[in-house]
């Protein structure tokens, strides 16, 4: 067992795949943490916009959240169907590509990739920000802590799906457990008090109302802000392949558990806020507390349960980045299978997952964390856009899907649900875009076309390569001719002899090229007659030709390149094989003691050469 094996786990054989597949219990932390943690900030995001209405605002929160929950249920059914229809995974990207075409697919791909990278960055930095506001002395290490968490997440994920699930199951359990306890105890206390519960600690007084009526625009903004609670719901549909058989069923059940829990939490928090008269606080306000913090204090007081709840929220938030780690590599693979991303994303590493996707996500997330110094609040508006663009495209894709399934029972109903969902998420997308455009959403609006452009460029490249490389014809044996062999030689030594011996086997036409700089006193001529030609004549082998090129400017490479290219041009149809003797040293530093001309020549032959020039490395080991 090496240190490497301890850190990343021993390699898994491809046949171990089944053992690596996960059930529902592991599926929830892996694919659900992002969605579930939105219960911690979704209701608050909506309630913040209602602050100007004072205590009256809290009356609107239950209807707004209910509307969001209806949308969530629609999206849930849509993804349930997606999982069944596309059991090999791919989510929005696959659905959009297969039903709407190439371009909508790329739109979904770009949106989701941006979304996942932002999820990772925002998740980690949200957790760290919560930690540093509790322990202010850590504040100046914010970025370093972010990067350490990022690396830990990357390592845990590189150990494979199963280990990741095992690592995150406890924090998820704590998060869901404490919040459910909050909701149910709160409801029970309200019930026994005849729906007029007495707070243990009174919540801070609501802001003075400056607005009397809820305008449509404010309603829309409140709704779309609250929709942040829906991000992360698409994660399971991307990762169907990770589940045990029956795959689709297990994935659907996982999604059901996640969405059901989320509904209870979201509705519970909204209803408790209304019942206990808790309003959101201005984040800029003195002694700001989150809605969740106020609610817990109101129901339980500041006891051990309060700290347990807050701790579990903090933990879950910073681990919610893990959903990005679970899905990004699968998404990148799906895109790469369509040739829109480099093919390395399809390779499975030692632990059977798409290692390069993890690397790429880690790299991009690190770049964003470093650019923003680990404080990513301003990134939040950017990242709902990706999710809602994906939702909209996915549902629209499902509408087309049902259109094609002409004999499916109840397809009109399905189409209606998905169509309604598409319109609802589409409107939400527009509202978010308009409301947050200046706050940063324009970055996403700019990045998406750039990403699409890059992906299309990659596709073009692969298409060209495939077209050029594909060979459905049998091997052609016409024109099998010995190559013209060129051996650059500075002096007669053992490595030169080795090259010449190899050249004599290769071909009857050998050109030994000696570039003679004015600087050097003697050339190769003397040794040539005596040491080379004499034994060759005795054996009656065709004689190699010695070509001496004078170099007035002490250049070696240029005259050689000129000679080789000229030889190639004047012998159309012949292959030119250049034998390059290369000294292999024992230690890397010994390379500094030898001229690196051979490496330069190899590079130049590759860059300036063509199909008919072949380079042979003759190694000489010291």
């Amino acid at each position: 067992m090496t240190f490497f094996d301890v850190l990343f786990g021993r390699p898994l054989a491809t046949s171990d795949e089944r053992a690596e597949q996960i059930g529902i219990a592991a599926g929830i932390p892996i694919f659900g943490l992002d969605a579930l943690t939105s219960a911690a900030y979704g209701p608050e995001a909506a309630m913040t916009l209602l602050i100007p209405m004072g205590l009256a605002g809290v009356d609107h929160i239950v209807p707004v959240i209910s509307a969001i929950l209806i949308l969530l249920v629609i999206v849930y059914f849509s993804y349930r169907q997606t999982i069944e229809a596309y059991p090999s995974g791919g989510g929005s990207y696959t659905v959009a590509t297969e039903n709407l075409g190439e371009f909508p697919g790329l739109l979904a791909a770009a949106a989701l990739m941006i979304d996942y990278i932002l999820t990772a960055a925002v998740g980690i930095s949200a957790g760290v920000t919560a930690l540093t506001s509790a322990v202010p002395s850590l504040q100046r290490h914010t970025l370093a802590i972010c990067l350490v968490i990022l690396v830990i997440l990357a390592i845990v994920n590189l150990r494979g799906v199963k280990d990741t699930g095992a690592a995150f199951i406890l924090p998820t359990f704590f998060f869901v457990g404490t919040l459910l306890t909050l909701v149910f105890v709160g409801a029970y206390k309200a019930y026994v008090s005849g729906w007029h519960p007495v707070p243990v600690v009174a919540p801070p007084p609501p802001a003075v109302a400056t607005m009397k009526y809820l305008s449509l625009w404010l309603l829309l903004k409140t709704f779309s802000s609250g929709c942040a609670a829906m991000t992360g719901v698409e994660a399971v549909s991307n990762g169907v392949m990770a589940f045990k058989e029956p795959r689709a069923k297990n994935a659907q059940r996982t999604l059901t558990v996640i969405v059901a829990t989320l509904i209870v939490l979201l509705f519970g928090i909204a209803w408790l806020s209304k019942t206990y008269g808790v309003t959101a606080m201005d984040p800029e306000a003195h002694q700001y507390q989150s809605v969740l913090s106020i609610l817990t204090t109101t129901i339980f007081g500041r006891g051990w349960f309060y700290y347990l709840t807050m701790g579990s929220v903090l933990m879950a938030l910073s681990l919610s980045a893990n959903t990005a780690f679970a899905d990004f590599p699968r998404l990148a693979r799906a895109i790469s299978l369509h040739d829109y991303l480099p093919h390395v994303f399809t390779l499975r590493g030692r632990r059977l997952l798409y290692t390069h996707g993890v690397y790429a996500l880690t790299g991009f997330t690190a770049v964003i964390l470093i650019l923003f110094g680990g404080v990513t609040d301003r990134l939040i508006p950017l990242y709902a856009i990706g999710a809602f663009l994906a939702f909209t495209l996915s549902q629209a894709g499902m509408v087309v899907h049902w259109l094609k399934m002409e004999d499916h029972p109840g397809r009109m109903w399905h189409m209606f649900v998905n169509g309604f969902g598409a319109v609802a998420t589409g409107i939400t997308l527009l509202v978010v875009l308009v409301a947050k455009f200046m706050a940063g959403a324009w970055v996403t609006a700019l990045l998406v076309p750039v990403l699409i452009g890059i992906m299309m460029g990659i596709k073009r490249h692969y298409t060209r390569v495939k077209r050029e490389m594909k060979d459905m014809t049998p091997l052609s044996l016409a024109n099998l001719q010995e190559p013209l062999v060129v051996i650059p030689m500075a002096r007669w030594d053992r490595i030169g002899e080795k090259a010449l011996r190899f050249g004599l086997v290769l071909s009857k036409e050998l050109k030994v090229v000696h570039v003679h700089s004015d600087d050097e006193p003697v050339g190769l001529e003397e040794d040539w007659e005596e040491k080379v030609l004499a034994p060759i004549r005795k054996e009656g082998i065709p004689e190699p030709e010695l070509v001496t090129i004078p170099s007035n400017y002490r250049f070696i490479i240029n005259p050689l390149m000129d000679y080789i290219l000229e030889l190639e041009a004047s012998n159309p149809g012949r292959k030119v094989t250049v034998l390059l003797p290369e000294l292999v040293v024992r230690h890397w530093w010994e390379n500094a003691l030898h001229n690196q001309r051979v490496q330069l020549l190899k590079l130049l032959l590759l860059l300036k050469g063509n199909q008919r020039i072949v380079v042979v490395n003759i190694p000489w080991y010291l």
Copy 2:
């Protein structure tokens, strides 16, 4: 004419060498600036130690400088003889190696290399420090200005010896001219006033005397500090090859002019100080002025001549680094010719000089300037040691030289002079070492053995390579056998076909190796029979063998390497030739879209392979 040509000059043919050689006029600025500028700080270095004696101290300065001048004359004659005896240059290193043996030679080499790098760093930063004390607002750009001057010096020197001489002739002329004017006008004024000159501006009063008698230790320290005035004298002897014919004569004349001028300046400044009653000031003192500044003020007042003199001193000091640029590359070449440094130092660049020496010096100097932030005062004690170690070894070498020249007239006298010089410079070296050991001389004492160790390691490497590579025997034609050809192939495509066609020409024994990962649905077998074997059978050519290696862990490289190494081991005496098809893309970024396995395999074959494994690159251009 490219920008490159404008900056560095057009390439010079090797036959242009004669036109690049210099005469005395160019030789003085190139090789003499370091020695000449020591007139600006040498006397002051000695006088500073006499401060505690007050005005009485100044009486001792003329005898001390006279003693130094005697030593300088001895060293001068020694180097004059060295130039004659070793007209191909090399100075102390060559003299020590040829007469005292390998180890003393390396000692001189290490000492001189350190000395030159420090000369460059100290020269540049001395000039910049003088500039920034005149214009304090530039102080925070000290390092940047140092590096800019370093780069300018490097570029000027890369243009070749002739252009360098032309660039530095004017500053040298100004420096020597103003100082000689100072000396002669000062002497004339003293003469006309009957040796009791009246200062134009009275010099600052001398310090209160705290010492009455000059102790032997103080005398020795004063002497050894003043010896800083002798550094740079060895430069000409290293660069004899740069001079026009008659080389030795021209070099000797250049050395004569430099040393004669230096003697006049040193003696003049010492004598004027005594005559005008000028003592050195404590550098820490308020309104500190250098001895040169006080003398000029005393004799000329603060007029235009004062500023002209100070400006020319500042300019010459910062350009004195150039002597290092002129000599380091030549020294490195001389050492490298003995295999103690990488051979690149023997290559002449486009302007006929040893380009890599200039690069190395620039690099090391930059490192030192950056490490010390451009303030290198503390390096001054380090750098006289190198010079005096070189002097001592050179003179000791000359003693042995004369010992061998049994029939040379006057060899006893020569031996006596050089022997006396060796003892004197040796004692000075010891005094400097003891006096400055804690102040930093220990760094040099530590660096010298490290450098010697590195040089001996390099020599060992080259000796081994030469022993292994040297082939005085004629070409052996025994055992010329076709190689075993291995072609790794993932699928049947055009690049695979190209490789196979090349392989069929190379050998009758072909192994096409297909590593089949469990991940991939189909292997190569299907195409093999139909597309490859069928046409080969029709032609009656020996059939290549398809070797399919299953890979349970999705590794591709490892199974391939194992197969190749095993094949090599089980076929002793046969060459194994591995054909690696390689895709050559048009743009560098396209490389990211292709698996870099071929590159990795090439590297591994080079690292783990042996003499009998040959790699052939089959390029495929898109």
